[in-house]
């Protein structure tokens, strides 16, 4: 659930901030034609995103090179349009006489930035429900529901941030709007630079082995941008958060003129509204930061290995009670030989069954590496292969090495003699 809560922030937060700011700017600072054009562009971007998401997940004819080329064109256009938008918006701000003309240039660039950034980010988020790893469960399972709720909440966070950014820029002055909008657009453009360079390498527009000087130049940039995507998201959220703080402070006291108490109340209500939306921006930014730090850390936490458990033992056998291992999780036991070698074996109750999978904590391919439990699955520590729990206890493949055991009186009885035979497997 948390993994899919994090994902929309990673994929869409910068886009949401930029889109919200751009739309507010176009709607409230430019004319009606610009507003309609921008809305049309936004609608087209949503439709295109759905189309791309469907194509990516259903059309197997379109392979990676095609999508690499597609994304390369998209990001190149995004980068160029971002630069154009920054220049045109500054021109719009500086030359008031030219605003009648420059507003159209600003709108055109804003539409392209908005379109390309949405089509770049949104299809991935739309496609996540199709790629939930349900481990054989149907879409009507609680597994699917939890993941879907996580994704929905993540998407909601991004959407609220978009609306809050829109509301914050709505009441900001033209100068503040342009400055903060341009900073956010610059951050957005810079954040895709790494991916753009990577695509140039993958498409061999830059050849890693031949264009060594150029590669040495771009590689550190690629490395920094791609490995620090969270920084850019913090930057975009920080940008709108700073504007929100400025707006909050500016709207603490009524400064404008008013003729009567009713007008004053109206002004105060409008200012209260600005402050509330500023708080929403700050709240979204805080949740976003928590999402990319604490939630990210939880999502990437290494699974804890099942500890070696104690069980009853005599000179001949080890005895594992059903009650000790009937929870469906992986359990690990060990026998220490006279030479001091720890021979581990695992026990797991099979899903939808009353039988148990028993085997060494080692396989013929990866040796004594053993297994761990990850999200209800049994995974080989060495090759990260997910085991079919139902086949644990059978010989072959990646299965745990089979050992002798018998089930009697509610216990699994493992002969020590059989374990010692495998002493060589454990060093």
């Amino acid at each position: 659930m948390l993994k899919f809560f994090e994902q929309p922030t990673l994929d869409l937060m910068i886009n949401a901030v930029i889109t919200g700011m751009l739309y507010a700017f176009v709607k409230f600072k430019l004319n009606k034609v610009c507003k309609i054009a921008f809305l049309s562009g936004g609608g087209l971007a949503l439709a295109a995103s759905v189309f791309v998401a469907v194509q990516k997940n259903t059309n197997r004819e379109l392979k990676l090179p095609f999508w690499n080329g597609f994304t390369y064109v998209l990001l190149t256009v995004l980068a160029v349009a971002s630069v154009a938008l920054i220049l045109f918006s500054l021109l719009w701000l500086a030359a008031k006489r030219l605003r009648r003309i420059t507003q159209y240039f600003v709108t055109a660039a804003a539409i392209v930035v908005c379109f390309t950034s949405i089509v770049n980010g949104l299809p991935n988020v739309l496609a996540y429900p199709f790629n939930f790893d349900l481990q054989g469960n149907s879409v009507f399972s609680t597994d699917f529901l939890y993941r879907f709720i996580g994704l929905l909440l993540g998407f909601l966070l991004v959407l609220v941030m978009c609306i809050a950014a829109f509301k914050t820029v709505k009441k900001a002055s033209a100068a503040l709007s342009v400055i903060f909008m341009d900073i956010a657009v610059f951050i957005g453009a810079f954040s895709v630079l790494g991916r753009l360079l990577q695509l140039m390498l993958q498409l061999q527009i830059i050849r890693q082995n031949r264009d060594r000087d150029l590669f040495k130049l771009v590689f550190p940039v690629l490395q920094f941008v791609n490995n620090n995507q969270a920084l850019f998201i913090f930057g975009a959220m920080g940008c709108i958060a700073l504007l929100a703080v400025i707006q909050f402070v500016r709207n603490l006291k009524v400064r404008g003129a008013y003729d009567n108490p009713a007008q004053k109340r109206k002004l105060r209500a409008a200012m209260r509204n600005v402050r509330r939306w500023a708080c929403v921006v700050l709240a979204c930014a805080v949740i976003g930061i928590v999402n990319l730090t604490a939630v990210h850390a939880i999502n990437n936490k290494k699974p804890v290995e099942a500890p070696v458990e104690q069980c009853e033992m005599d000179h001949n056998n080890m005895y594992v009670d059903f009650s000790q291992v009937d929870d469906g999780h992986l359990h690990r036991f060990a026998y220490i030989t006279d030479k001091g070698v720890e021979i581990r074996f695992i026990v797991i109750k099979k899903p939808n069954s009353s039988s148990y999978g028993v085997g060494l904590d080692a396989c013929d391919i990866c040796g004594e590496a053993g297994y761990f439990e990850r999200e209800g699955q049994i995974v080989c520590k060495r090759c990260d292969v997910v085991m079919n729990i139902n086949t644990i206890g059978f010989k072959g493949g990646c299965n745990p090495i089979v050992i002798d055991y018998e089930v009697k009186d509610g216990r699994i009885i493992v002969p020590i003699e059989g374990l010692v035979l495998h002493e060589r497997k454990f060093k």
Binding site: K63, R210, L222, Q223, D364, C383, V386, N388, G397
Partner: protein, 224 residues
């Protein structure tokens, strides 16, 4: 005015279509030309393919994927070893393991290991089976990924490989360690009449594995 616009649009579409077709055509031509250069031995062929991918990405892309070389044609014992990576791939499984989903990983790392001249009975250029091949990706003293490759087959033949998680671009050291097939109880005829004349000890001294380490400038996950 409308007519002029229509003509401009039609002309633009025609130019785009022509360019696209020309692009496809030239790709196909270069692909078939390059393909005709395929050499006899598989080792030489894989070398040519890697070079071709470097020289002409379209040729490699015709198969639907491009392999990005990490190192090529290193001699390790009696083996020719190349390492490549590309996008993580879904893999259907045998009975004991579940299907792997590409979405859970960043790349597919692969070791192509073929036989050189040897006294073990392997045909020169053929894939060497029954190896246990370990990989380790390190950045300084920090291990970023490690494990054991699985045996598998792709459209270009059998190989040792694994889908791995390696999210950060960077300069890494890739170490590939190859254990003797004898460790997996692979037998060699030892009689004078039918035996190839050598033993694994000729190459794996005292059963010790062989390894190769190379620097890898990794540009990040390969994803759609």
């Amino acid at each position: 005015m409308k007519k002029i616009l229509a003509i401009i649009c039609a002309a633009a579409m025609a130019v785009t279509a022509t360019a696209a077709l020309a692009g496809c055509g030239s790709n196909n031509t270069s692909s078939s030309k390059t393909e005709s250069k395929a050499t006899e031995s598989k080792a030489e062929e894989s070398k040519a393919e890697a070079t071709r991918a470097e020289a002409d990405p379209a040729a490699a892309d015709d198969a639907g994927f491009t392999e990005y070389p990490i190192f090529e044609d290193e001699t390790v014992g009696f083996m020719n070893v190349s390492a490549v990576f590309f996008q993580a791939v879904p893999m259907t499984a045998g009975a004991t393991i579940k299907e792997q989903k590409a979405e859970d990983y960043d790349i597919h790392l692969e070791a192509d290991i073929s036989a050189l001249e040897n006294t073990l009975g392997y045909e020169k250029g053929s894939w060497v089976p029954y190896l246990t091949v370990d990989y380790k990706v390190t950045a300084g003293s920090e291990v970023k990924a490690e494990g054991t490759f699985m045996e598998m087959a792709a459209s270009d033949g059998p190989h040792y490989g694994a889908n791995i998680k390696l999210p950060d671009a960077g300069t890494y050291e890739l170490t590939i360690t190859i254990h003797s097939p004898a460790d997996n109880d692979y037998l060699i005829h030892s009689d004078a009449l039918t035996g190839p004349g050598g033993t694994f000890d000729d190459y794996f001294k005292n059963g010790e594995p062989l390894s190769v380490t190379k620097t890898w400038e990794y540009t990040g996950p390969v994803k759609v």
